[in-house]
């Protein structure tokens, strides 16, 4: 029952929106899919089979017959090597990608045939939340085993959650568990591990009690850093001075695959885990991961079928590969990323409105925000492949079963805003009105705004020149682009408020609007990076939303907060990122979830080709 609250992510509308921006790809992808109806159907069967595990435990088998499968079930992928094999210490996308396929937590997220995220029980079989919304009781699968044959127990989860909060370890993802009672104090080095309210009930049951209701806790609990660990092996390795962090032979695995070979910064081999509880639905026998640095080499490997799935970094191949998508060689998957790029305005009190003295004025910020043509930006700098942002929270982020973006609409596309954006004279009038309010004399033509950059790539230079030109055309304002030679001098400039705005972004960590909207709460930990917007009404709305467990109420509160934030132009969103995946069309049943692994390939298979 409870599962429904976690899952049911309605991405379908989002994906079609994202695709609408680039018409040709949509048709290409569809054609490729339609040309291969039979295997498409069987791919769905596999998905359902693995998702229905909790209802028909063990009974579900794949409906694939031998002649649909290629003889060799080997998948070849490009990857970036992992800094560490420790789930608690996961740092970047590459650790999430690989470790999520060799280890397993409470849940596993797949995408269905429509690209909609579906959360399935994995290590857990069910969970309950107490009436006061504070105590979570997790029931674990009793047939889950580690690759050395040991059962996966409640103790393994509790060990992991406590270790994740260990102040001496200073793990980056500790914040996932800090809403547990006693967790925050322990993580910050002020409390004791004994006060952290995570308890083993029996071998296959454990509870976590929160300090205050946290609507996104269940989403955090399923993430990689919260996966179970084998403390006995870690302690043994550390006691004998062995390199547990990076020596894969010291690890055991409870996921669909195990790591069977590794050449540092070069390659890794995963093989099927025979101890995995759902091994009947794991069809791949081996996965080869290679480090391939050059994008042209990656392309050649794809074209010669030596790579099966590629997340594109060089967007020029989108046009180049259209013919291969059209003739059915490749499938092209556009997958929403939980990422938004925006302009941060210098609203810190200490900054006094930035070098121009104008940034604390909402009208000035609004005029600047509306001066940018987001469609043009997308076409010029993102090959038209991103989604122009008219709100802050990216596509795909949900509250309960409702996708936030489609519920909240597009604040920056309101009629009023659209009229302003289309009328430079009105926009300039708004800007000058703001100048007067801020007590800055003269006209827009007298104003010089300052942006600071350290990234000196051609792309970034072009983008800043484009800002300059847009501001000159629409507002008649001059933009001064201050280039710093490196990040640390840039940070100094930022921390001494020598800017009016700069380009910033956020890649979400878990599926909840608060992960994005929380960045603009007064004096939150990120305020110094995000411009320091401050509005007590906004703070109140976010606080209410974070305390509520009513999905509808939360949706409304988040929507109000976002509208307020963008009305006052506390931030100026520019675009949402979309990941471009290409796969050989014979690779079936791959998922591209929003969080965690980029590519969930544990139930994938290679069709006869």
């Amino acid at each position: 029952m409870k599962l429904k609250r976690v899952s049911r992510i309605l991405l379908a509308t989002v994906l079609s929106l994202a695709l609408a921006g680039c018409g040709s790809q949509t048709t290409g992808t569809t054609t490729a899919g339609a040309a291969d109806n039979s295997s498409q159907a069987s791919s769905q069967t596999v998905t359902e089979a693995s998702l229905e595990q909790e209802t028909a435990e063990g009974a579900a088998t794949t409906s694939l017959t031998a002649d649909e499968l290629a003889d060799e079930q080997v998948l070849n992928l490009a990857f970036t090597d992992l800094s560490i094999l420790d789930v608690n210490d996961a740092r970047n996308a590459n650790e999430f990608q690989v470790l999520s396929q060799v280890q397993e937590g409470l849940f596993r997220v797949f995408t269905d045939a429509d690209g909609v995220d579906q959360t399935a029980y994995a290590g857990a079989t069910s969970y309950e939340v107490s009436d006061d919304n504070l105590t979570y009781t997790f029931h674990l699968r009793e047939d889950a085993k580690w690759s050395d044959g040991q059962p996966v127990t409640a103790q393994n989860y509790v060990d992991s959650w406590l270790r994740l909060l260990d102040p001496d370890k200073a793990f980056s993802y500790g914040f996932l568990a800090t809403t547990i009672a006693g967790g925050e104090a322990y993580y910050n080095g002020e409390g004791s591990v004994d006060d952290v309210q995570v308890k083993v009930v029996d071998d296959y049951t454990f509870t976590a009690t929160l300090a205050a209701p946290d609507p996104s806790f269940i989403k955090k609990a399923g993430m990689l850093p919260m996966y179970p660990i084998r403390k006995d092996l870690i302690d043994a390795a550390e006691a004998s001075g062995q390199n547990w962090g990076n020596d894969y032979t010291l690890h055991v695995f409870n996921g669909p695959f195990v790591i069977s070979d590794r050449v540092l910064e070069n390659s890794m081999t995963l093989t099927k885990n025979d101890q995995y509880w759902d091994k009947d639905n794991v069809i791949l026998t081996q996965v080869n991961l290679r480090v391939v640095d050059e994008t042209s080499t990656q392309a050649q490997l794809m074209e010669s079928q030596q790579l099966d799935i590629l997340k594109l970094t060089d967007l020029d191949y989108v046009d180049q590969w259209q013919s291969l998508v059209d003739d059915g060689t490749f499938d092209h998957i556009v997958s929403t990323a939980p990422s938004v790029t925006y302009l941060s305005f210098d609203q810190h009190d200490a900054a006094n409105g930035g070098p121009s003295g104008l940034m604390q004025n909402a009208k000035v910020r609004k005029a600047i925000s509306l001066a940018f043509d987001r469609e043009e930006y997308n076409l010029m700098f993102q090959n038209g492949l991103a989604t122009p942002a008219y709100g802050l929270v990216p596509n795909g982020i949900t509250v309960g079963s409702t996708e936030f973006r489609s519920y909240a609409g597009d604040p920056l596309l309101s009629e009023e805003d659209q009229q302003l954006a289309a009328d430079p004279a009105a926009l300039k009038a708004l800007f000058e009105e703001g100048m007067q309010e801020a007590g800055v004399s003269g006209t827009a033509a007298d104003v010089t705004l300052t942006t600071i950059v350290y990234d000196q790539t051609t792309l970034s230079t072009n983008i800043n020149e484009w800002y300059k030109q847009q501001l000159a055309d629409k507002l008649g304002v001059t933009l001064d682009i201050e280039v710093y030679p490196d990040v640390s001098t840039w940070k100094e400039a930022r921390d001494s408020y020598q800017y009016d705005f700069y380009t910033m972004g956020w890649f979400g960590d878990y599926d909840d609007p608060s992960n994005f909207l929380g960045l603009f709460v007064t004096d939150n930990g990120y305020a110094k990076f995000m411009g320091g917007y401050s509005n007590s009404q906004y703070d109140e709305l976010i606080a209410q939303a974070n305390a509520s467990l009513d999905d509808q109420e939360r949706l409304d509160l988040f929507k109000q907060a976002e509208t307020l934030l963008l009305d006052e132009a506390g931030v100026s969103p520019l675009y949402f990122e979309n990941a471009q995946f290409y796969t050989q069309s014979y690779v079936k049943n791959v998922s591209y979830p929003l969080f965690g692994a980029d590519i969930e390939f544990s139930r994938a298979y290679i069709a006869k080709h």
Binding site: I84, D86, S172, N188, V263, L264, S488, T489
Partner: protein, 319 residues
């Protein structure tokens, strides 16, 4: 006795050189803005950031870190990687050194071999077509970066013609297997040697050919062929032989571009990535070990001089 004093002196100089290199590397890295943790702490609360810096000892003042590092170097303890937790420089060199060494040696043997043949050809046919051919070829090969060669070879012979694999390398620890994987990277990296050695040998041969004893040999009535083989070639080899040890030493450090293009698990790529990531212990360790190797090779080279060229003698400390 002279030789003994010479050796002591060389050893002292070597140690001082190593110390200067280590110190310079340390401070250059320390002066570089940012550090290995800056990307990781971007999203962390301040207290956690502080603890993370404490964990890696990066919270200490520069001079204290310098002393700790130097003390470690004295004991051969370079510390653990900050990026790949638990990995030591020794692990990494043991794993990746042989890969780069095999590739480098193959490139060298092919490149030097072809280069020498072309050098002889150019010297013998001085002023004729082949001479100009070799000169133009050498200029061409030396001015095109090997990244371009690597990408071109990969595109033509691997992707289009499918004669060789696009990327890859035989499994670690194997020196003679999987030659198919090594062909393109070997070719891509041998051109520099061809250019350098053909020009070096040609210049050296022309120099020798102007010597009086060659004139003598010719006037004795020896054939041109005999003069070249017995008198000119042997004596022209001195600069070649003295340069070879340096070339061998350079092999082991690997080539960033070629290893990157062909996805070869070598030292060159790893080293550059470590510098980019500011993984101080790894960069310090590799730099010192490679520098020590160079110094040793330079020493060998100096000894070699005295063996191949009797005109050079060790004169330890005499004024």
């Amino acid at each position: 006795m002279k030789v003994f004093r010479y050796l002591i002196k060389r050893l002292l100089i070597a140690l001082i050189t190593l110390y200067i290199i280590a110190t310079a590397t340390f401070f250059l890295l320390a002066l570089t803005p940012g550090d290995a943790l800056s990307a990781r702490v971007e999203k962390l609360p301040d207290q956690v950031t502080e603890r993370l810096y404490e964990k890696y000892g990066l919270d200490k003042p520069v001079m204290e870190r310098y002393l700790i590092t130097m003390k470690g170097l004295l004991h051969g303890d370079f510390g653990e990687s900050i990026i790949y937790e638990g990995q030591t420089v020794q692990d990494i060199i043991a794993e990746k050194g042989p890969v780069s060494a095999r590739l480098g040696l193959q490139q060298m043997i092919l490149g030097v071999g072809v280069g020498l043949l072309l050098g002889i050809l150019a010297a013998v046919k001085k002023g004729k077509f082949w001479d100009y051919f070799v000169v133009v070829l050498a200029i061409l090969l030396i001015s095109v970066p090997n990244l371009i060669f690597a990408l071109l070879l990969q595109m033509v012979f691997a992707a289009r013609l499918k004669w060789f694999p696009v990327i890859g390398w035989p499994s670690a620890g194997q020196w003679f297997s999987g030659w198919k994987y090594t062909v393109l990277p070997t070719l891509a990296g041998c051109f520099g040697y061809i250019a350098a050695y053909s020009r070096l040998l040609k210049a050296s041969m022309l120099d020798v050919m102007n010597q009086d004893y060659v004139l003598t040999a010719e006037s004795k009535g020896l054939t041109h062929r005999e003069v070249i083989l017995h008198h000119v070639l042997r004596n022209s080899m001195i600069p070649i032989i003295t340069r070879l040890p340096m070339t061998v030493a350079m092999c082991i450090t690997g080539s960033f571009f070629i290893e990157s293009v062909f996805s070869i698990p070598g030292l060159g790529l790893y080293y550059v990535n470590a510098v980019a990531a500011q993984d101080v212990p790894i960069v310090m360790g590799e730099t010192v070990i490679i520098a020590a190797l160079y110094i040793f090779v330079v020493f060998i080279t100096d000894i070699l001089y005295t063996i191949v060229d009797p005109r050079i003698r060790i004169s330890g400390g005499k004024r």
